[in-house]
Assembly symmetry: C2
Homo-oligomer: 426 residues x 2
Amino acid sequence: MEDTHHTCQWGTGERWGDAPTETGMKRLALSDTDKQARDWFVEATQALGCHTTVDAMGNIFAVRPGLKNDKAPTFVGSHLDTQPTGGRYDGILGVTAGVEMLKVLADNWVETEYPVGVVNWTNEEGARFPMSMVSSGVWAGSIPLETAHSLQEVGSGKATMAEELKRIGYLGETPASYEAMPMAAHFELHIEQGPLLEMSNKKVGVVKGVQAYKWLTVKVKGRDTHTGTTDLKSRADALLTASKMILHSHRVATASSALASTGILNLKPGSTNTVPGEVTFSLDIRAPQNETVVRVTNQIKDDFAKIAAGEDVLHSNQDCTLGLPCSVSITEDFDSPATTFHSSCIDAVRQSAHSVLGSNSKNLVMDMVSGAGHDSVYASKRCPTSMIFVPCREGVSHNPREFCSPEDCAIGAQVLLQSVIRFDRM
Amino acid sequence: MEDTHHTCQWGTGERWGDAPTETGMKRLALSDTDKQARDWFVEATQALGCHTTVDAMGNIFAVRPGLKNDKAPTFVGSHLDTQPTGGRYDGILGVTAGVEMLKVLADNWVETEYPVGVVNWTNEEGARFPMSMVSSGVWAGSIPLETAHSLQEVGSGKATMAEELKRIGYLGETPASYEAMPMAAHFELHIEQGPLLEMSNKKVGVVKGVQAYKWLTVKVKGRDTHTGTTDLKSRADALLTASKMILHSHRVATASSALASTGILNLKPGSTNTVPGEVTFSLDIRAPQNETVVRVTNQIKDDFAKIAAGEDVLHSNQDCTLGLPCSVSITEDFDSPATTFHSSCIDAVRQSAHSVLGSNSKNLVMDMVSGAGHDSVYASKRCPTSMIFVPCREGVSHNPREFCSPEDCAIGAQVLLQSVIRFDRM
Ligand SMILES: NC(=O)NCCC(=O)O
Ligand SMILES: NC(=O)NCCC(=O)O
């Protein structure tokens, strides 16, 4: 907990309570504060006897030698970047628990069979550079380095990942690749970010996999015109059209028990008395099954084209003057199919959870599937992987009030340590 | 036309055709390019024998002496600021036609009975500082100087009108007031900005008044949460709620033959995988009658509160999972009641139009009411006022493609000149 809150001095966000630690976090990937947190990570792990390597995506691998060093290390990994209005636990807990593992091993003179490591992955959130888990994705060979390097930040800035990696001094020389930096396994401790553990009074979630998701960018083009002189039927109002699309995306998702969300929306030109001629918005579509995500995405694409053309998909046209058609173009920016973790790692986590929680553990541990993506998704493509979830208050995450009690953080860290030791022995 | 296109070198906008003048304009009020256009206006009018005065709102009054100078000048006025994606005619034509009037008077050695003047009003558009016609409003005593000076620019900047007036050197010492700068009358030539003249093959609109409008700011608050782990019913999605409101505002407007428009929308935090916790958007409501604007505004306020609370105002909840309630707060930022111009000025314009257009004029002139606000709205509170409209292509304005043919501009300028001369004689 000390390390967690200590590192939250870099990128402190919105205050929500009076206690010193009752603030959120705003530590966007490759910002100045992310650099400070990275510098801490390098120093802390080196001081604990690790050798650190930075790769071409700024991923930082800290490795502690084992008795034998002819096999790949068993890694613990997560991320130090946060959402613009994020909390103190999402990602951060997984890294500080990894450092805690190194401390416990050092304090107790434990030598593992093979090396163990802790990795801080770059831009897991996809909040600044709009592709989540992008750097573990490059490591896994799933995302081309060039694509990742040329990703541009969201909002009004224009910086690319490559520029920002260079600027903060974390553009490493080691190739970002599972071949240059192989792993025996990857374990990740994370807050659940949803309400299921808390609602069912459980302490540990054994994560068997991750649901599927896609990120789309939708661009609607209409025509800039005067709000006072252009009657409703002579308008091609890109924002009215986008509003219908956003509402409709929730209907389509509802019908398939999927999720559809818009987190970014920008319009042009942005003047009170000009009808917006262009609106661009993000769409995040998720469901446990790949087929559901594909079906919802296809239906949304079809229906958005109809809405833009003026078809009455929402049954709203009779009450609301229909304007001129807009055009719509949709790009698929990111695709993360459903992931199933490795049974050996899942077993290691489950056994560790029961061991840590003791006699009543049957009532305190449950298997689950993650609603959020994590670097473990890409790690799992190249090595046995699993995750450990701990409860977070009211299931709230990506919010300054995100909270996990010190007791629950400690349980998670103990399960993480035991999982690594079990795997190392295995 | 030479002056019009010459001054459009300052703030040239998006290109839409190959010819040198086929670009739009982006000359936001009190920007560096606005300063350049202002400097031109001061030089041009002084060279034509005018005395220029700048007031505390940066309004520039150029006055040409008459035979007698014991009465207030008859003014021609409009504005040199534009929309972010505006054209070369909105406002600009009214000012350059005023300068043209001064040239014609000088070239022909005409001495008017009383002085005549040309005024360039500041920030008529309300595009940069979100209150349209604000500086004629201060001049008329309708808007407090303090309110205007402290208006903050839209978007991410933080500059106020007072700061920007000072920065570009146009914070004058003369009080911004009809008492310090009285007018005998105010005539304004403007493109129609709507399709009515073109559709009915008319050349001149005699403007009898201006419709009513209000500008509101709507702020919706929900809760930032994770898009992947928060089910639809556990969300307080400020953007989904705002989308419903925007759609609904068009329904309410449709039912009353009014207009409702949203030109600005900003959300927080702006990340693909965070449900927006806060959305702020503008609402521009217009109708010919004050009562209609008031009724529509009140209904929108009531219904927005219901939509935020989760009531099924749009009949959309059954198909679209209902989330948690959001809160909504609405401020009324600007109110421009319906305006009726002065019969003497209307007559002067009508007679001049018939005189300029000759034998077939009966088929070429029509009375009309303006859909857009103009500085003439506030001028009319303190002196006899009317306006002259000329057609613009397809009725398009607040768009780079805004266009008025040189022939139509010339007709408008001639009607303007004659209207001033008629009023001066009267
Ligand atoms: N854990 C987390 O918030 N990851 C971001 C990727 C996602 O959007 O699920
Ligand atoms: N003429 C013009 O575009 N004025 C801006 C004020 C308004 O929004 O009507």
